[in-house]
Symmetry: C2
Subunit: 197 residues, 2 copies
């Protein structure tokens, strides 16, 4: 037995979970998404930098502001989702570092005084957190529909006009509707992706 996590949980998070492409009318509350965040925020980032930010799009007006920047194939399904999360990196995450990682108080004004270092670090660590977040949505019994088919600069200008946050991923969240799932594509096997030296 390779896992301590029981099979029901493995199935919920991985085997029986699929990207949803339609959503039912069942609502999703902000509190549900905040509970997801409060669970997944505990998973690690480098120097505890915690650069992920989540912007929840709910109202019809906000939704249309987002939909106009999505690829055509992503528009209809996003209109059916009860809530859509824009996952972004806060490029000024270093401002909070003295509080988040007090054992190295100089980081903010040395390594992370450099905007390029911040962006590379922040993008990687926010992406790690995006991975945790997708599994957290599934842990809440919700279906996630992550999308990268969009005009990133357009979404940034629309929602993050000051340039401080950069969009990484947009995730529709809800309960699956009719014909929500496509067949899962093949994956690389462990023998292809894992090597031992």
């Amino acid at each position: 037995m390779a896992f301590v996590l029981d099979e029901t949980a493995q199935n919920l998070l991985f085997r029986e979970a699929h990207t949803a492409n339609t959503f039912s009318d069942a609502p999703v509350t902000d509190e549900q998404i905040k509970a997801v965040y409060d669970l997944v925020k505990l998973a690690p980032t480098a120097f505890n930098q915690s650069p992920l930010r989540v912007t929840l799009v709910r109202t019809p007006e906000a939704r249309e502001r987002l939909v106009q920047h999505l690829a055509d194939g992503n528009k209809a399904k996003t209109r059916t989702a009860p809530i859509t999360a824009i996952l972004s990196v806060d490029l000024e995450f270093h401002e909070r570092l003295p509080e988040l990682f007090p054992v190295m108080p100089a980081l903010k004004d040395t390594v992370f005084a450099d905007a390029d270092a911040r962006e590379a670090n922040g993008r990687f660590n926010a992406a790690l957190q995006a991975g945790y977040f997708i599994l957290g949505v599934r842990a809440a019994g919700l279906a996630a529909g992550p999308m990268t088919g969009l005009d990133f600069e357009g979404v940034d200008k629309e929602f993050f006009g000051d340039g401080r946050q950069k969009t990484l991923l947009v995730v529709n969240i809800g309960h699956p509707g009719p014909d929500a799932f496509r067949p899962r594509g093949p994956r690389l096997s462990a023998d292809e992706a894992v090597t031992t030296v």
Copy 2:
């Protein structure tokens, strides 16, 4: 109740799991890590691109080749880990796309013919997978010790001499040893990191 995932599983993956800084002598097999990969490979990437590659470092010789490129603070603990995984992105992931995402067979020779587009996409999606992988290690009842304090170019040259793979994260994996855990740092609250528009 915000979660379908039961509390035991939530605790295993998030609340009671911590980055390990020492490891016991208890072994970890390649098969355990391959089982982790085979579970987490099911979680989504854009266009099913699956760019993450895992290189397992086990022998004393391979370990020293890795350790020389780590920050001083990461050397001793890496020597105590029974196995260490180098998580990297395969910058030529597009070669497998016609098989992994057959509904858009042109992707390989259009969007992803461009090396910069491949690198940006691959790094983001491999980082998502790295997040899944860390939680998968925990699901296997193992402790993960992810590290970014290292000479990335040095590790790349040492293990990926042909330049095709780029190191993203190095993760010690094992059973925790004495004094393995540091106190968890504070996290940003949901009210700070999650906003609704």
